[in-house]
């Protein structure tokens, strides 16, 4: 087990290094000086000199990248040369919002997908299953921005149940917080739910054919006990694998959702930096996001191997 984790960690380190180097290097494809580009041509020579000094532009790209990596590891993420705001300030403001949004939406999606998936797998081809599967299919075809617009129109504009217009932290009261966060979380969950649901349903149908399910029923266990204790665990492996991949897909959705609901999270930050041509900040953020997601996938692998010992021997 330890050896498996060790191998995965070593692979992880290599991948993180390669991926960040790739994104670091891509910015150097821009014609001319990245520092000049970062100011959009409106910089004083001193500002450019400061930036060049910070970015070690005299060194080869790989040395620049290594020094950048050292800075990042010691907590120096750089700053905006336009506004003087540091990367750390901007991120520490935005990150909690994005993490909460992702956590709420994953909880909603899993909370709905697990019971629905178990049930529609158990009642395969019944009317209820067809309704659930058809609904999942329709949701799968709905782009997140269309779902969000419809939800805003119905629940915020017409019914006025929820608030728009910016994030409210939990410290301002739970009700205010969820009045702002509920619709974004639902919007994002709508994209994740059908994927989880369909996978779980397929796996449940497979697991139900196993002998131990018949045995459990023959012992006289009620159906819900069989489904929850005997069927769910062996059916959840694919779900777990996909969870890692979906974490990345969820961030795609989060970018759009944050923009749609004015939440000013990490996604909005990225979009606004892109719009302001803050190349250097965009680069650091993208490289960090890449590193985080590669790590998440690796962690999912490790958890997976704990649940299913057969994986380790491959």
């Amino acid at each position: 087990m330890l050896r498996f984790i060790g191998t995965r960690l070593a692979q992880l380190a290599v991948v993180v290094l390669v991926v960040t180097l790739l994104f670091y290097w891509m910015l150097n494809l821009l014609p001319g000086n990245p520092c000049v580009a970062a100011f959009g041509g409106a910089a004083t020579p001193e500002q450019i000199a400061e930036c060049e000094q910070d970015r070690n532009l005299d060194d080869p790209v790989i040395v620049q990248w290594a020094k950048w990596g050292g800075d990042v590891l010691t907590g120096d993420f750089g700053k905006s040369y336009l506004t003087g705001r540091t990367f750390g300030e901007a991120i520490s403001n935005a990150l909690p919002r994005t993490l909460l949004l992702l956590a709420y939406s994953q909880a909603l999606a899993l909370g709905a997908a697990i019971p629905l998936g178990l049930w529609s797998g158990y009642r395969q081809d019944s009317v209820g299953d067809k309704v659930v599967s058809g609904g999942a299919f329709a949701l799968l075809s709905s782009p997140v921005f269309v779902v969000g617009l419809v939800l805003i129109l119905v629940f915020a504009v017409k019914l006025d149940w929820f608030d728009l217009g910016g994030y409210r932290p939990i410290s301002e009261g739970l009700v205010a917080h969820f009045k702002v966060m509920f619709l974004p979380a639902v919007t994002l969950a709508v994209g994740l739910l059908p994927i989880y649901l369909r996978l779980l349903r397929t796996d449940v149908i497979g697991t139900l054919q196993e002998d131990f399910v018949g045995t459990a029923r023959a012992k006289g266990l009620p159906v819900h006990r069989v489904l929850l204790t005997h069927v769910l665990r062996p059916s959840s492996f694919t779900l777990l694998t996909i969870f890692g991949i979906q974490a990345a897909q969820a961030l795609n959705g989060a970018i759009v959702v944050e923009y749609l609901f004015d939440l000013d999270g990490v996604g909005s930050l990225l979009v606004s930096w892109v719009a302001a041509r803050e190349y250097l900040l965009v680069q650091t953020l993208v490289a960090l996001i890449a590193a985080v997601f590669v790590t998440v996938t690796a962690l999912v692998d490790v958890v997976y191997s704990m649940l299913d010992p057969r994986v380790r021997r491959r």
Binding site: V15, V19, F23, M26, L27, L29, L30, Y122, R123, Q124, F137, A138, L140, S141, S142, P143, V144, F145, V146, L149, V150, I152, L153, V157, I195, R198, L199, L208, Q209, V213, G214, R217, A218, T241, I242, G244, I245, A248, Q249, L251, N252, I255, V256, Y259, L260, L270, V271, V274, A275, R277, Y279, V282, Q283, V286, I289, A290, F293, V294, V296, T297
Partner: protein, 315 residues
């Protein structure tokens, strides 16, 4: 037919064995695995109606996108005051008008033109590149497979939209660059499925026979493996098209796709977002068209996959 498992739990069905069916591909007969269950049963007739509705809708949207400049009854999408501002849908303006009085139906059709002209080439290139990578990896295995699958797995673990944003930032917002960005996104998923299919067929007896008979690898790859992977790739193309349309839509929704005077589905919706209270029809009509189109693409893709029994498709 009574099966002991049926008596224990009524809802559990016996696993239906897969069998070999011969279906014509490219004028020749080749063996393809088809799930026996999917070929039988009373559901077939209903499914076909939905399938043909989907195909019909896609044909309609495609025709609209291609023929938009020559359709006489279509208003000029950029002409202000084609009708009174912010009219709801009516007979003369099917999708209503926006705050400048521009005809929303015309804008929707023209939007499909740009959205599809990005998605079409992106999926085309994605299928060719992803297909070649996947088939090579799946057939040759060894280090080629190791390299391709590690790259694909890492790429799939990254949030695609972030990288599309990055690519568009570095290269600039233009038609070509947005197409490049969404193409890059579609390649890993397609390569993964092509690889899985190639692996399946590389182990089949007709490939072993060809190898034993001394056929060289290009012959085996092009005559034995590739023709069997192509139907799967064709159905994946429909699903990938949906994903790419959403990706481009997201980019233009947040204002990072092709610049402003151009009309895309995404930026119509972005404009509709600001007018949700006064004229919800702007967002709802184009959003509806987009939803139905994506649903049709997914339906055709899913149905083809089901008939061809391609696994791993949805991952």
């Amino acid at each position: 037919m009574t099966d002991p498992s049926e008596t224990t739990t009524a809802a559990i069905k016996p696993r239906v064995p897969t069998r070999f069916l011969r279906i014509p591909i490219g004028g020749r007969f080749r063996a393809t695995l088809v799930d026996a269950e999917s070929r039988a049963g009373p559901r077939r007739g209903k499914i076909n109606i939905a399938l043909w509705l989907s195909v019909g809708w896609l044909a309609l949207v495609l025709a609209g996108a291609v023929l938009a400049p020559w359709l006489g009854f279509l208003e000029d999408p950029n002409r202000p005051l084609a009708g009174d501002p912010e009219l709801g849908p009516s007979w003369s303006h099917w999708f209503g008008t926006d705050q400048l009085g521009r005809d929303m139906f015309a804008r929707s059709v023209w939007g499909s033109r740009l959205s599809l002209s990005i998605a079409g080439p992106a999926v085309g290139i994605g299928v060719v590149v992803g297909g070649v990578l996947g088939v090579t990896a799946g057939y040759f295995g060894k280090w080629i497979d190791l390299v391709v699958s590690s790259v694909v797995n890492v790429a799939l673990a990254l949030p695609a939209l972030v990288f599309a944003l990055f690519i568009v930032t570095v290269l600039g917002q233009s038609y070509v660059n947005v197409t490049i960005a969404v193409t890059v996104l579609s390649i890993p998923a397609i390569a993964r499925i092509a690889r899985a299919q190639a692996l399946r067929f590389a182990a089949r007896e007709f490939v072993t026979v060809a190898e034993t008979m001394g056929a060289r690898w290009p012959r085996i790859l092009f005559r034995d493996v590739l023709p069997n992977v192509v139907p799967a790739l064709a159905s994946i193309a429909f699903l990938a098209m949906g994903i790419v349309i959403i990706a481009e839509g997201s980019l233009s929704f947040i204002g990072v796709s092709v610049g402003s005077p151009s009309i895309t589905w995404g930026n119509i919706l972005a404009a509709g977002r600001g007018r949700l209270e006064e004229s919800p029809h702007i967002a709802l009509t184009t959003g509806g068209v987009m939803f139905v189109t994506l649903m049709a693409l997914n339906f055709v893709g899913d149905e083809l996959l089901r008939r061809l029994d391609v696994r791993e498709a949805r991952i």
